[in-house]
């Protein structure tokens, strides 16, 4: 019996070793692809002429849609940020999802809202009734839609999609701050290839510690707390390397709900956002891929590896735990819902590489990581594993983790360089090390909890994050070509 247990333990340790070897090799491949993609994007940016997109009569109009629920602290700054977007033909639609605080009052005071009779069709499914619509004074292209709260984050976004008038719809959060040229950057692929591009997304960055003036990020700094600092590195890794890499392969699985641009007709065709899925942003993109493949259309979902949107990340472990648990639950739901795409050659990269990667390495990664730690500890205790070998493997695992983070930081330094200070570079490098000493294991535990929630059919609740707000005074709103 003891011999059998030993054999199983040793076999499992080998499995864990091989698993991490394959995992890190796949990440290295993604790094390589991402570096090619970022280099190409940087090179193109020098000649692309984003100002040409602004002045171009062929540039399609965009409806920016943001859902807001109890955002009284940030909402005015966020809307100023959306209105300040440099884009020739723009309207902003804020859907107040039955806020119980002063969100609507803040908007009414700031933008001189008056009742309007906007006709909102029912082209994508919604649950909550629209109570009223309000237009901003002074020719500001802002529409505020008040609706009943149904406890679904996606319901107000679908209402916004229905209300949108322009051929492109930008989905963003009510608590995000956008770069002035965000839309020009993510709209460029639509202008360049109007027949084939159906959705684009860009890089999201944490805003904690930075200064916001007149709805725009004016001074980029690292956050003060280590939890947020580590997330800066995590976001760099995720957006700059992982998503760029998948996009380069043609299998981008997600466009962040914080900022994404979609063709409205396609959103209507696929039925908008799923009202019952927690990972609604990934679910939408994978459903778009599924539609494209099913209909055998030559269409593209494109990732623009440039910073476009800034969002507040959790500073405390409790809120972070809830967020990561929810993300893991969402990922499990999405993979389960689209399980038939996996392994199906018709779905190309998405079916053969992306979804299997997300299943085995992202969703099940924490299971292997944490059970692997226990198995190695047991193996050491029973004398089945050489101590020196275990130390070497541990160092290799830490080194591989560091490699990804430092590759992301180096890529950033050679590309966008949003953190200009030497101190910020030092903090980012230190955060890469600190992440491996407890934070990563905690996150793996929370992700495991999220997977357990899915298996036990426990629904995630949307928690509230204590926000500090961007704390600035609004500036003048630039005029627009239309609305």
């Amino acid at each position: 019996m003891t011999g059998f247990v030993s054999d199983v333990l040793v076999a499992f340790d080998w499995f864990v070793l091989i698993y991490f070897l394959v995992l890190n090799l796949s990440y290295l491949a993604l790094i390589g692809l991402a570096v090619v993609g970022v280099t190409r994007s940087m090179r193109r940016a020098a000649f692309a002429g984003q100002e040409d997109v602004f002045a171009n009569p062929l540039t399609p109009g965009v409806s920016v849609v943001a859902a807001a629920y109890n955002e009284e602290l940030d909402i005015v700054d966020s809307v100023h940020s959306m209105l300040a977007l440099r884009y020739p033909l723009l309207e902003v639609i804020v859907v107040d999802d039955g806020s119980t605080d002063a969100t609507f009052e803040r908007l009414r005071e700031a933008f001189d809202l008056t009742p309007s009779r906007r006709a909102i069709p029912s082209e994508v499914p919604t649950l909550g009734r629209v109570l009223s619509t309000h237009a901003a004074g002074g020719g500001v292209p802002l529409l505020v839609v008040c609706k009943e709260n149904t406890g679904r984050k996606t319901d107000p976004i679908n209402v916004g999609i229905n209300a949108a008038r322009h051929p492109l719809v930008c989905l963003t959060d009510g608590d995000s701050v956008l770069e002035e040229r965000s839309l020009l950057k993510v709209a460029q692929p639509f202008v360049d290839d109007p027949e084939r591009v159906v959705a684009t997304g860009g890089v999201i960055r944490p805003i904690n510690g930075s200064t916001v003036e007149q709805g725009l990020v004016s001074d980029v700094r690292m956050p003060r707390g280590w939890v947020a600092r580590i997330q800066v590195v995590e976001y760099l890794r995720s957006f700059l390397l992982s998503r760029s890499g998948w996009s380069h392969l043609g299998g981008l699985p997600i466009i962040s709900g914080a900022f994404g641009l979609f063709r409205r007709d396609l959103l209507v065709e696929v039925g908008g956002l799923d009202l019952d899925t927690v990972g609604e942003d990934a679910e939408l993109v994978i459903r778009i891929h599924a539609t494209m493949r099913r209909e055998e259309r030559d269409q593209r979902v494109v990732f623009v590896p440039e910073p476009v949107c800034w969002t507040e990340v959790p500073e405390g472990l409790r809120v972070l735990a809830r967020q990561r648990r929810r993300w893991s639950l969402g990922m499990a739901e999405v993979l389960w819902k689209h399980r038939r795409m996996m392994g199906n050659p018709r779905n190309r990269v998405m079916g053969l590489l992306t979804l299997p990667h997300y299943l085995f390495f992202e969703l099940l990664g924490p299971v292997v990581e944490l059970t692997g730690l226990v198995a190695v500890a047991a193996g050491l205790a029973l004398g089945l594993i050489d101590v020196w070998f275990a130390v070497l493997v541990a160092v290799a695992a830490i080194g591989a983790g560091l490699l990804l983070s430092i590759a992301a930081i180096a890529t950033e330094e050679y590309s966008f360089r949003r953190h200009g200070r030497w101190r910020d570079l030092g903090v980012a490098l230190t955060a890469s090390v600190v992440e491996l000493l407890g934070y990563r294991q905690l996150v793996a535990f929370w992700r495991l909890q999220g997977l357990a929630d899915f298996l036990m059919r426990r629904r995630s609740k949307w928690g509230t994050m204590r926000r500090v707000g961007f704390g600035t005074s609004p500036g003048p709103i630039p005029g627009r070509r239309g609305g």
């Binding site: 090179r43 193109r44 020098a46 000649f47 692309a48 002429g49 040409d52 997109v53 002045a55 171009n56 009569p57 062929l58 540039t59 009742p115 309007s116 009779r117 906007r118 006709a119 909102i120 069709p121 082209e123 460029q188 202008v191 360049d192 290839d193 109007p194 027949e195 050489d386 020196w388 070998f389 070497l392 493997v393 160092v395 290799a396 080194g399 591989a400 560091l402 490699l403 430092i406 590759a407 930081i409 180096a410 330094e413 050679y414 360089r417 030497w422 570079l425 490098l429």
Partner: protein, 354 residues
Amino acid sequence: MSVQTMVVPALIGLGATLAVLTVAAAVGKARRRATDARRERRLAEVRPSVLRMVGAGGSVPDPEGEGASWEAVEELAVSLLPKLRGADRAGLVELLERAGSIERARRRSYRPGAVGRARAIELLGVSGVPRALPEVARGLRDRDPGVRAVAARALGKMGDPGAVPFLLRALEKPRPIPVSLIGMALARIGPEASDGLRVGLSAPSSVSRGVSAELLGHFDAVAAVPELVALLEHDPVLGVRVRAADALHRIGSPHALSALTGCLDASQSPALRAASARALSTVGPGAAQDDLVTALASGDHGLARAAAGTLSLGGPAAVRRLAAVASSAGVGSDEAIEALAALGHAEVFSGVAA
């Protein structure tokens, strides 16, 4: 070979990679800062002499004589020329001619390095010297996509209508240039590009036909109305027909009335019907009211909104028919109410139409 003997070298390699990446990040930051500072310094050195020359209304100083870096002068000229007009612009171009920059750029446009070719073509484009058109147009077929993009923009800046056929052909394979760049270049050339764009309406590529139609609309090219009407009625690609309708909307010629009314027919796609309904607001407000009321009740929001908007501009009779739909609370009433509200009809808010 044992596992340990494999792991140790791998670890050493990993450590070395980490060290290299960390140093690379720091070097990258330092190098970028130094490069930016050096470039700014050079530009600051030459800026006063170039600006003095521009301000002096065309008198040309010798920048070499002032110890300036000629590369920096060229860089500054590339950024300044698009903003200058008249004698200032002519003076700066003359300065570049006298120093041989234009001829050097024409030669450099054949160089092996893509960056050098792109810079040369950019300089030729902003200087707008007509004899450089062949070199810049040749750039549209360059093997490097960056150079092709620069060439398209340069042709737009040159503003020569003779470049229109080259630009439209550049939308086609094997080395297509993004529509945004070609569209912008054609838009920069302006209404003088209309003759070339009219030819583009019969191009084999649907992208070329669509871009040509849309830009002719932006240029209010009344002379192109017959070709646009033909495109609206007969093009095999729906998107091209929609763009032809949009162009006719901008131009607003009554000669398109019959064709647009025909496209309102229920057998046509909602997108084409909506574009045609919108176009009727400028081409013939008050016309085709029966078809517009039918479109308003189609159940398609975009089409109903376009029909309601056009009816609201069609005079008292059309507005009465719109109000009747609004008060019916049936299909299309929301769109009718919105259109009436836009006209400022108070009864919409007092609930008469609800």
